[in-house]
């Protein structure tokens, strides 16, 4: 996603200028890390807050726009993509970010995710994946690991989790990356790469929910995951990369992307990027801009008898 700023604020953008009132997440929640990653990226890029819109759905992730001093739409459950598309069509001058969760994007809003990807309209899509429904008090979500007990499946979640990465790759996503809330540098670089890409940039973020599932991610060690690295990719987290495997992967290879995405092991980095995929918003704008203009005054003339 690239920006073209028209009216610019004289004031520099700082983390402080991006703050609103205090977030209402639990202490230790991974959402704080993601929020900071977004703000750090905005500061790095000096992204104009008045030309930025954060759009979210419902859930703990859905609260994010309320805590960033830009424009924001905290919409309804599962549907932020639809609202974001309206903004992208109406206001191509804006930079659009979508904050969604595993329940929001993969369950109730699954249809819109597939079609947002297919439309490939220009936005950064951040999936806050804490692997359960949190705000509604611990129910099984599409990504809850099998056997994990929740309030709706107390004897342990019945099914294998849905794999968001192979899902979006299969749907034809033009940009697929993965990161985690506890890797600030990697998170900010991932958002930057997603923003740089023109189209629907899908970013999967492993997110800790210490309140309902403190053991989901061992964020202190790194031996359980690997980083993907490439000159066209995202630089692995320096500290964590030292103690784990770093794999060279060319993000233009869809086959490679599927291989890592479908692996039992977790990979962080850029899986896939295809800069040639057409963008729906561009198509509609071109259709309008290239149409022969006609005066509204004569709109009824062709019905004359």
């Amino acid at each position: 996603m690239s920006t073209h700023v028209e009216n610019k604020s004289a004031e520099p953008v700082t983390v402080k200028s991006l703050n609103t009132d205090n977030p209402r997440w639990c202490a230790g929640c991974g959402d704080y890390g993601i929020l900071m990653g977004i703000k750090r990226f905005m500061v790095d890029r000096q992204l104009q807050p008045h030309l930025t819109v954060h759009v979210s759905g419902i859930g703990c992730s859905g609260r994010a726009p309320n805590y960033i001093n830009t424009y924001g739409v905290h919409s309804i459950h599962g549907r932020p993509i639809t609202v974001a598309l309206g903004l992208a069509l109406a206001r191509p001058d804006l930079d659009i970010f979508i904050e969604s969760g595993d329940g929001d994007a993969l369950s109730i809003g699954g249809n819109h995710l597939v079609h947002g990807i297919n439309k490939n309209f220009n936005c950064v899509f951040l999936l806050f994946d804490n692997e359960l429904y949190a705000l509604t008090k611990s129910q099984t979500s599409p990504t809850t690991r099998k056997g994990h007990p929740t309030n709706t499946q107390p004897s342990g979640t019945y099914l294998d989790p849905l794999n968001p990465l192979t899902l979006v790759l299969g749907a034809g996503a033009s940009f697929v990356a993965s990161t985690a809330d506890w890797m600030p540098d990697h998170l900010a670089s991932t958002i930057a790469a997603a923003f740089q890409h023109k189209g629907f940039s899908f970013v999967h973020i492993s997110q800790r929910c210490p309140h309902y599932d403190p053991n989901a991610f061992d964020y202190k060690t790194s031996s359980w995951f690997s980083f993907l690295k490439h000159e066209k990719g995202i630089t692995p987290d320096k500290r964590l990369a030292e103690k784990t495997e770093v794999v060279e992967h060319d993000p233009t290879s869809l086959e490679g992307a599927f291989k890592y995405a479908s692996s039992e092991r977790r990979y962080f980095g850029l899986f896939y990027q295809n800069s040639a995929k057409a963008c729906y918003d561009d198509i509609l704008h071109k259709l309008r801009d290239s149409a022969e203009k006609k005066p509204r005054a004569k709109i009824l003339d062709r019905f004359q008898i």
């Binding site: 030309l51 424009y71 739409v73 903004l87 149409a291 009824l300």
Partner: protein
Amino acid sequence: MSVEKKKISRFELLMDAGFGAQKAGDILITAFAKMGKYVYIEPMIPAEISPPPRTRPALSGVIIRLADFDITNIGNDTDIILASHEIVLDRRIDDEETNVNCRVLLDMGDKPANEESYEKVCKRLTKMGISTYPFEITAESKALIQSLSNSGQNMYYLGMLSSIYNMPKEIVIAEINKTFGKKLKEEILSKNIKIYENGYDYAKANILFSIEVAGVPSQTEKILIDGNTSLSMGIIDAGIKLFSGYPITPASSIMHTLAKVFPSYGGLVHQAEDEIAAIGTAIGSYFGGVPAITCTSGPGLSLKQEFIGYATAAEIPLIVIDAQRSGPSTGMPTKTEQSDLPAVLFGNHGDNTKVILSVANVIDCFYAPQMARYLTEKLRVPVMLMSDFQTANSYKVIDKPKVTEMNNVDDIQDFVLERFHMSRLPANIEMVRDNQAAPGDLQGMRRVTGLNSDHLGQINYFSKTSQRAHAIRNSKIHEVRKALTKPEMFGPEQGNILIVGWGSSRGAIEEAINSCRAQGIPASGIHFKIVYPFPLMIKEIFSKFKKVVTVELAYGDEFKLSPLAMLLRAETLIDVQPMIAKATGRPLRPRIIMEQVKELLS
């Protein structure tokens, strides 16, 4: 050969779907209009695309009402039916809309292969007192039709009907040329015209009656347009820039029309992945400060409800067109009804605050989008624009409406407000949130949410803040209530009986009241275009009548109040009763209204 002079006449052309009955109807009414006659046309469209020919569901056709004065509805009964075979005829007779003197011209071409069936239907007609005029397409024309791979039959019928209605051949041929000239090859076109002429000549020689409805070609510019096309043009005239929809009957044709022309007027047409996505995208656009509209029918309305409530809470302008069809559930997609009123008014969870605008005719369709924009941008509450299958698909010849090229809603013209019986809203309307800036405003950064918010736009769960937000949202609706002027009335403003209706029932009510009064039956009528809120003076208006009754195309019976009656009773505490509350899928008929009035008054 006798020529019967008539002030008004109604006829029908019934065929199998896919054989061009509607095309023939369009050509004929344009020719009528050129001769200065007034026309109103209602297509009959099957819910399926191309049901097997010679089956009851295949019925496709047109009802055309023709008069020497302006007509506002499709009227009562049919004088003449031309049917391509006995099955579509039999199906249509079931609707019981034939005049006692109805004459049926029945194509006997299929009879040899279907003797029994033809005989049964003909017997049925005789029993009903309907006179049948059997005919067959001449051998020469049959050969021509065959050479056109079985098309052109409609041209033969068109020829017969033009002859029966005493139309000059050349005028209709000119319209055929205009309709097909660019689309058909010369040879095919001339064959079609030949078939038309054969039909015409056949009727002249063999059908020994004809009907003449007078007409004076007028000097004013006239257009022929249907409800959905008029709405589409109105959307452009209103300065709306994004249309976001999902295919559904009967709303879809608005999207089809705009898809062809909107880009030339700076607009975008977005076909969403579902009904919910369609409304979400309209809301996104309006949050960005760009006027947008979404439109739906039937089941789509149910799907959109959550977002309608969201727009209310988030104070984002929103216009939803609901082209009503018969329900519940899938119901009858190509039949008309007015039963969405409660769902539109009360459909989303929690307190409902919205304005409901309805259209009575094709001219209203043209101006309603401006009204909707004016209301939703001034108030930042959803505006529901209600049409129905009948209005969406019926054509009428009208004086060309004035195009206003609206950009800013404050520039809305007085005559548009007057058309919807409303005066201008106050300049400042109180909002829940003080700041209503759109992205791009350097000072206005803000977040909206469906959670309860305070005046700073912040999430707030305090009791007082919730009560305040509710009161402000409702006060917006009260501002409309106060700005509403007296609705349109027919007949004296006091008396024994007042007929109440809304939306597409206007024409039938007006005509019924006129007929009543012509016969010395004292009745009055009132019609609402803004159906919610109601103007403050309705109780006073109603209290001047001994009886107040509704006519609506929605179900009601002795235990169940129909939607409009229920609402009016709640608003006025007056004993409003449904007089006609039917869900037959067929438009209201002025004569039935009159008969009911007579019965109630006796």
